[in-house]
């Protein structure tokens, strides 16, 4: 029995939701960054599944997944750099306690 497409979509949706929850609920900037990476990887599952089931003869989905991996790496690089600058200024990275700006 072949695994139907919807299973992959459900898995990806659950992973994405876990990522969204983590990004909203965690206070540590690095943990938020990890949650966002989880969201991106959920999308990758979706893309590869769609590529296999919807357009089996084309590479669009797989290539897009590679692009997302690359962007996730670039985002992580930039994000960690920004976390470092904040740490150097404030000596902590708890986002809910970063409130120099009035909002």
């Amino acid at each position: 029995m072949e695994i139907p497409l919807s299973w992959y979509l459900i898995l990806a949706a659950i992973l994405f939701a876990v990522g969204v929850y983590g990004a909203l609920a965690r206070r540590n900037a690095i943990a938020i960054l990890m949650s966002i990476e989880l969201m991106l990887n959920a999308v990758n599952i979706n893309l590869v599944a769609f590529a296999r089931y919807v357009t089996p003869r084309e590479l669009t989905g797989q290539i897009f997944a590679i692009f997302i991996m690359m962007l996730a790496a670039a985002e992580a690089a930039v994000g960690l750099g920004l976390v470092l600058t904040v740490y150097r200024n404030l000596r902590h990275i708890q986002v809910d306690e970063i409130n120099l700006l009035r909002s």
């Binding site: 994405f16 769609f50 897009f64 692009f67 985002e75 904040v86 404030l90 970063i98 700006l101 909002s103």
Partner: protein, 504 residues
Amino acid sequence: MTTTWRELGYLTPELVVLLGAAAVLLLDLFLPRGRRRVLGGVALVPLGVALGWVLRALWAQSGGPSQLHKVFGALLLRDPYSLGFDVVFLVAAILGVLLSLRYVEREALPAGEYYALTLFAVFGMMMMAMSAELITLFISYEILSLAVYVLAGIARGRAVSAEASLKYFLLGAFASGFLVYGIALVYGATGTTVLYDPLGQSASTISGLILERGLFGNALLLAGLALLVVGIAFKAAIVPFHAWVPDVYEGAPLPVTAFMSAGVKAAAFAAFARLLFGGFRNLGEVWQPVLWVLAVLTMVLGNAAAIRQQNVKRMLAYSSIAHAGYLLVALAAYTARDVAIGSVLYYALTYTAMGVGAFAILLVVGQEGEANQELSDYRGLASRHPWAAAAMGLFMISLAGFPLTAGFLGKFYILNAALRADLDGLAVVLGLASVVSWYYYLRVVWFMYMTEVPKAAVRPISRATSLGVAVAVAALLVIALGVFPSTALAVAQMAGHTLLPLGY
């Protein structure tokens, strides 16, 4: 063979900006520390060359039939629409670099990285306006975003700058997660990521397949569209995805804020219009009510928050949310798209001139470490520095939308589109929102002209030539677009017409 080389030729302005960014980055490494001030001037060269190329290309098409070229399959479109938005981005960037020349030196920012990232951001914007395919759109969106995240935090020593940048980054990365999930769902529903084919040669595009397979109520497609709108609304600073705007605009270095408020917003709207009027043109009945609601929310909340601000930089940040709302009105005027898209482009250009101009005056009046941005710092400016006050007054009444300024005509054409699309309610909200905005814009004018300040409290202003040039250029643009709008309008309309359905 020749076709492919010619395709690269269509990308000349983009490639010039990209090579310029690499050149600035490399020059920075091999220049002695004291000579790095030339980098700003070096960064102006590719921007100027690209602007010249774009204007020449637009000039060549005015009057005649507009030219439309597909680049790399149908990934990118070199059409008057993308050229028109390129003008907006390049003007914003040139003004932004002019504002930075003095600032970067005074605040001891890393010049090489600063200008290189500005150029990378412009490159991302230009690609965003060109992209007619979702993967390309996403990559350009990220090139732009990553560069701007770092620019917002480039004043590493100042805690507010670092904080603004981290907040912007975390929320931005979160939003790009939604965007990319939306793209995946749209791809899953249609099996393609190409938005539309302007030449009507292929029906296997998103807009074509929606018609062909009748995907009007397809759940995957609609969910994907909704997520795409969320991702782009974040970049365009649309309520309720605007939470980052005031903090980031206030915390980021002033020239970066000026560049961001004009350029990033214009890029987001360029992609937004291409997405909605291009790829999802056949779902207009679905997305139009959503935009209607977003437009009302954005105009009302942006203006309501701007009224309460005592800090001019923060007031401009909130008011820029309100301006995003006015642009949304044009996008919602879906049934009058023959004039709506052109009015988006025209308004983006006018907002760039007056918005960046206002930020330039903030730099003129402001002092080291971003001091002097309270409303009270503008007390009696007119008697002390009449030219600075006059320019600020011009930008304020233009932002408020008074006749004979660019801002008035920009709003007028958006209203025109809204009324032709029978969006009377939205037009009324736009009118009322503008009237409310008069209060906080004119308050600045009142402080400058109607109040006096004791001699002892008079503070000096910055007299850098580059700032003066930037203010003069912005002021001339505001007047020119307000008094002689016909050329710019004709170009904007021609650009807008490229998005009208010819094929799939």
